[in-house]
């Protein structure tokens, strides 16, 4: 009977903390056993507002001056007494920071903190069917003791067993993001995380700053064409047309990217360089890919443009 109850409890709690066990038995190479980002500020939450408090903590740690009261107007939904995940990311971006998701793995989380980046995490402190959602900021770990250190709720230095954290974090889908100044990127982010973050950032940023973010992303993740194209577009929007043309041409050639050729053609047309625009548009058409309608249209416009 007792064994059955224990088994049931184990099932409800989502099994054992396998990542924690593996981390403690065989820590990833280069991961310091003990890390604590003591200079991370603390904003105690008021009422239900752990979202704004966690976001304020992460923004301030990245060097952004924030007023938690203003943040709560932005990311807190009164009727539901909570903050949406999407709005946590958007809230950071609105304040000029780059918010990037990181992989939902304990090892990534700890490596990120070891790199000096506090990580905003979503935990489900309840059970899967009685959720008790909570945002907190991870600021350190102590592998020998098996502890994780957090700025959480009204507790400035919460010490939580790694295994407990793994359960509560896992029940939120292991959702986590890092807030950094434009140009800096999380250690563990993948290219798709960077694309999502840069595109989201561009939407509410000044073009010159967006260009800097894209440039830093392209340097680290040269593969996705979207990053190079975003870089070129932002340069153009910021008025640096010469550099924009260089970047778009390089992207077009490197990636054999129709959108890069189309955008280059559009830019060259605006600059009155009609013949080069025709050439770029022809290159886009020649690729015969999914962008054929736009490529044809670019070619038509270039051919019709007044000399």
């Amino acid at each position: 009977m007792i064994r059955a109850a224990l088994l049931l409890a184990a099932l409800l709690l989502g099994g054992c903390a396998v990542q924690t066990a593996a981390l403690r038995a065989d820590p990833p190479a280069g991961l310091p056993p003990v890390v604590e980002l003591t200079s991370t500020p603390f904003f105690p939450q008021t009422d239900f507002q752990c979202g704004p408090a966690a976001l304020a903590t992460a923004l301030a740690a990245a060097g952004f001056a924030v007023d938690p009261a203003q943040l709560s107007a932005e990311v807190f939904v009164p009727a539901r007494a909570g903050s949406l995940q999407a709005e946590m990311l958007a809230g950071a971006r609105r304040h000029g920071a780059v918010a990037t998701r990181i992989p939902g793995e304990m090892a990534a989380l700890l490596r990120e903190v070891a790199a000096g980046h506090p990580v905003v995490v979503l935990q489900n402190l309840g059970l899967s069917f009685v959720p008790l959602w909570h945002y907190a900021v991870v600021v350190g770990h102590d592998l020998p003791r098996g502890d994780l250190l957090l700025r959480s709720g009204r507790t400035e230095r919460e010490v939580m067993p790694l295994s407990t954290f793994e359960h509560t974090w896992g029940r939120s889908g292991s959702w986590a993001f890092v807030v950094l100044a434009p140009g800096d990127w999380p250690l563990t982010a993948r290219s798709s995380d960077a694309v999502e973050a840069a595109v989201g950032f561009e939407r509410s940023a000044r073009p010159a700053v967006a260009a800097r973010v894209y440039a830093s992303a392209v340097q680290r993740w040269p593969d996705p064409p979207s990053l190079a194209i975003g870089w070129g577009n932002s340069l153009r929007a910021a008025g640096d047309t010469a550099r924009a043309a260089e970047v778009l041409r390089a992207a077009a050639e490197r990636h054999r990217s129709a959108p890069a050729w189309i955008n280059l053609a559009d830019l060259l047309l605006a600059l009155g360089r009609r013949d080069e625009a025709v050439q770029a548009a022809r290159a886009a058409v020649a690729l015969h890919d999914a962008w054929q309608p736009q490529a044809q249209q670019a070619l038509e416009e270039a051919l019709q443009a007044v000399r």
Binding site: A79, W133, V199, P259
Partner: protein, 137 residues
């Protein structure tokens, strides 16, 4: 999407051509330029520019705006929030519209459902779409 946009682009092109004929020179907008977002969508990273437009358009409705206000949410604030959503986030919301339960098949019902129940509140407890926060104590 292209089917809707292409005639619009033709119209823009025709207007620009006409202005050129009249004035000799008109500064050109980035008429053909594709956004990084569209390209990222084609890479399979994000999708849902259309969904965000759909959400924003729905917020323009008086009945939706009123329903939001009744639940303590400023529609302008809601608009700003939608505008700041990434494609991936908007796509997730859009998918929830498409999955709206039977009975909400009239358009107003669906929109109110999305904004009031999914995006903003879900206080009636019909859905559990987005994880929200709650206090520890």
């Amino acid at each position: 999407m292209h089917a809707i946009r292409r005639p619009a682009r033709r119209l823009v092109a025709a207007t620009v051509a006409a202005s050129l004929a009249l004035s000799g020179f008109v500064p050109r907008a980035q008429a053909l330029t594709l956004s990084a977002e569209q390209v990222a969508e084609s890479e399979g990273v994000v999708s849902g520019a259309v969904q965000r437009e759909r959400l924003l358009a729905a917020l323009q409705r008086d009945d939706v705006a009123r329903a939001l206000q009744e639940r303590g949410v400023d529609p302008d604030e809601a608009r700003a929030r939608i505008a700041a959503l990434s494609d991936a986030e908007a796509a997730r919301l859009g998918a929830e519209i498409d999955r709206a339960p039977a009975g909400a098949n009239d358009i107003v019902g669906t929109l109110v459902f999305v904004f009031v129940l999914l995006l903003v509140t879900d206080i009636l407890g019909f859905t559990k779409v987005f994880p929200f926060t709650r206090p520890i104590r």
